[in-house]
Symmetry: C2
Subunit: 143 residues, 2 copies
């Protein structure tokens, strides 16, 4: 029952909010654009406007329910925020996104910022590349 989550963060429990949260929770793809959420809503038969999707996602972000990422390629993507931090690796060929955490990197970041006299409030580390299924075609045994 997600309505509790909404209440908890001070948001009225409205149909669009519940539905959007539901989609974010049940979608196999963890990272969705506003458009994707919108289309998913339409498919579920919900008549919710794209503007509402953006508004709600932005509210969710402010409330800490979701995180917004700006990967390359135009649109921002949203994912549920479970509280834990992680970075991303994006396949430029198929769009697959995976998450990872690396303590060594996190520590170095802190050290670097410290060194330069900065207090870090956030950071974004995104690796772009091609995943295993797009191996170089002149190798045998390829897809």
């Amino acid at each position: 029952m997600e309505s509790k989550d909404l209440r908890k963060v001070g948001l009225k429990v409205t149909l669009p909010r519940v539905k959007i949260l539901d989609i974010l929770e049940n979608n196999t793809d963890l990272h969705m654009t506003a458009e994707e959420v919108y289309r998913s809503l339409l498919e579920s038969g919900e008549d919710i406007g794209l503007a509402t999707v953006y508004r709600v996602l932005t509210q969710f972000e402010a409330a800490g329910l979701v995180k917004r990422h700006n990967f390359e390629g135009g649109s921002a993507v949203f994912e549920l925020d479970d509280g834990g931090h992680h970075d991303h690796i994006v396949c430029l060929e198929c769009g697959r996104v995976e998450e990872f955490v690396d303590e060594v990197i996190e520590d170095r970041q802190k050290a670097i910022a410290d060194n330069l006299g900065y207090k870090i409030s956030d950071h974004s580390l995104i690796l772009y590349g091609s995943c295993a299924r797009h191996e170089c075609p002149h190798k045998e045994g390829d897809d």
Copy 2:
């Protein structure tokens, strides 16, 4: 004489290109938005359209003369590409941007990608925070 650089990458030596390259080379701020380059051109008395600035910067990017970064806050910023890679730390309060390189992080990134079966083609690491001049005000000895 930057015209050589342009020739080298197969771009005709035109006034807009030379002027834009000139601005990128002589501006104190290493990271400029297309708008900033455009305004800088106007100040120099050049009558070059914003669309041209975008086009030229995109060509420069394709040619490897500049790098485009998408920091938070909407507009992309461009910087001359000296060939060396570096990451960025951005002060959210004053907009200052500094660069850094850390071999440990670079190595870990490669290892992580390897581990997940990705071949990295690029990556973006941006630390956001506040720089030394924005220390918490209830500490003595502050700015």
